[in-house]
């Protein structure tokens, strides 16, 4: 077999590269072999093989594998034809193809080398041009209807005594984005005191009564509505302010006596009174898409309350 002759300069470069490889100077050998490739079109397969040897020694397995594939793909290179097994073995080492089986026929479309994508996959999904990459959407407000449950303390300040009591609240609220980091909150709430506090109260009620007293288990019921403005400060945290308006019903169920003005006779029965709720509200909390927690403080009439509240989104629009 007659190999295509290298030019004198290219032959010298290849021999120099071989010497450098034997000395372990693979970086320099690669540079010299690149020059040899530029100088001559003959024996490209042999030069590519030598270059791959040095690249592999330098740990550049990707480049080595690419050069070996290029060598195997050369159509009329007699050196590659004579050394196909060596080239394929080095390629297997470079590309990690343990099952590499060098073929004396060289690579073909029907039997790609082990490091290639399956032809059926490329035939089925391969594309030369791709459509534009899709983008996302702009920010838009989210509206949530959520149920909440909370508990805490409230301190009344009224004619019926000043003892603090435990308060349980529940209800529903609507939240939604306004602009930037701000959001609104509208809440409808029902509240109930938890502790049975035996209390005695005596007062001068308005109307036809001039004196009354009550004794027994005191219960307070709240039905109110609140509006608030929130600032979402990041990481799910928010702070908010607002106002609450509603009605509080106060009930003593054991004993009460009303003595109408101008009469000696007493009227006994349940003592019921009402109070308009007017409070300022501040809140601090954290919320995810699935649950939220917040601490809510309020002050006004009744005097104050401090509640811990859990919210569960029911509907998100």
């Amino acid at each position: 077999m007659v190999l295509a002759p290298l030019s004198v300069l290219a032959q010298g470069l290849v021999e120099s590269a071989r010497s450098l490889q034997q000395l372990g100077e693979h970086e320099a050998a690669v540079v010299v072999l690149q020059r040899a490739l530029a100088e001559s079109s003959a024996e490209r397969g042999r030069i590519l093989y030598r270059m791959a040897e040095s690249e592999l020694a330098l740990g550049r397995s990707d480049a080595a594998a690419a050069h070996l594939r290029e060598a195997l793909a050369l159509p009329d290179d007699e050196w590659v034809a004579a050394h196909t097994a060596d080239v394929a073995a080095l390629l297997a080492r470079a590309s990690g193809a343990a099952a590499a089986s060098p073929s004396t026929e060289g690579p073909s479309e029907a039997a790609p080398h082990p490091g290639a994508l399956p032809p059926s996959l490329v035939d089925r999904f391969g594309a030369d041009t791709l459509p534009p990459l899709p983008g996302g959407t702009e920010w838009s407000p989210v509206y949530r209807v959520q149920a909440f449950l909370g508990a805490g303390l409230f301190a009344p300040d009224d004619d019926f005594g000043k003892k603090a009591n435990a308060l349980l609240v529940c209800g529903a609220e609507l939240t939604g984005g306004l602009f930037s980091i701000f959001a609104f909150r509208v809440q409808a709430r029902f509240g109930l005191t938890l502790l049975n506090v035996k209390q005695f109260s005596s007062w001068d009620p308005p109307g036809p009564y001039y004196r009354a007293h009550a004794y027994g288990d005191r219960r307070d019921l709240f039905v109110d509505l609140s509006l608030g403005l929130r600032a979402n400060v990041g990481a799910g945290l928010f702070v908010g302010v607002g106002g609450r308006f509603g009605y509080r019903r106060i009930h003593f169920d054991d004993e009460a006596e009303y003595r109408p003005r101008g009469y000696d006779r007493s009227v006994e029965g349940d003592a019921i009174a009402g109070q308009i709720v007017r409070q300022a509200v501040v809140e601090l909390g954290w919320r995810s898409d699935h649950i939220g927690f917040r601490i809510e403080g309020s002050a006004g009439r009744p005097r104050a309350s401090l509640l811990g509240i859990v919210t569960i989104p029911i509907v998100t629009l």
Binding site: S120, G126, P132
Partner: protein, 216 residues
């Protein structure tokens, strides 16, 4: 077993819902299950069973060999939105190296429990259209770095990776506002090199079974 609470929490955060007909992802796409026995957790064919989905959208294991098919969806950061699928693919494969397989695209890796270090290399790649979505295919080899000290040719796995940059979205929420952001969908078939060729066709079937939404 010590981590059963964590596993339950993570499992509860899965990105979709399995029905008898399909897997419906919270990212908007779905995967048709095929004519299989859903009661036996079969998916695609009788050879593939739905496996633990912790960390994945969908993960299937082969009943006779070590092959696994999985789908992951990764949130794309702003700087990657205009990056070509081919570059995203190479970055993903690069990020696989050094840690375990389940990695975040931004490079943050989950520490390997067994301190296994992987080396990865792309053997071949090609642009692709999967369900009319822009994508890139790659064939990669995976080596255990410690095993290479004994045998330089040792490969623990070979994998086909499809990186799809199409109509797959995640919802970014800030307070009471939200927007839909593009996500990166990764579909992988991985097997030991010796049995790799046996299920390449199933990987193609999985890709063909994915249905994408029209838009965000």
């Amino acid at each position: 077993m010590r981590y059963w609470i964590l596993w339950m929490v993570l499992a509860g955060c899965g990105g979709g819902r399995l029905t008898a007909e399909a897997f419906e992802s919270s990212y908007g796409y779905s995967v048709e299950r095929g004519s299989v026995d859903a009661a036996r957790d079969e998916f695609l064919s009788a050879d593939w069973r739905v496996d633990s989905q912790v960390g994945f959208d969908l993960r299937l294991r082969h009943v006779r060999h070590n092959g696994v098919l999985w789908i992951q969806v990764l949130k794309l950061k702003e700087e990657y939105l205009e990056m070509a699928p081919a570059v995203l693919t190479r970055n993903y494969v690069e990020n696989l190296a050094g840690g375990r397989w389940r990695v975040r695209f931004d490079g943050a890796r989950i520490r390997s429990r067994r301190h296994v270090r992987w080396a990865t290399t792309v053997l071949d790649e090609h642009p692709a259209l999967i369900g009319a979505q822009p994508a890139h295919l790659a064939l990669i080899d995976v080596a255990n770095v410690d095993q290479l000290q004994l045998d330089a040719d040792a490969r623990v796995a070979r994998a086909l990776v499809a990186v799809i940059r199409g109509n797959v979205y995640w919802t970014e929420t800030h307070g009471d506002r939200q927007r839909r952001r593009p996500a990166l969908m990764i579909v992988v078939y991985q097997n030991a090199p010796g049995e790799f060729d046996e299920s390449v066709e199933d990987f193609e079937r999985l890709l063909s079974s994915i249905r994408f939404p029209e838009g965000p």
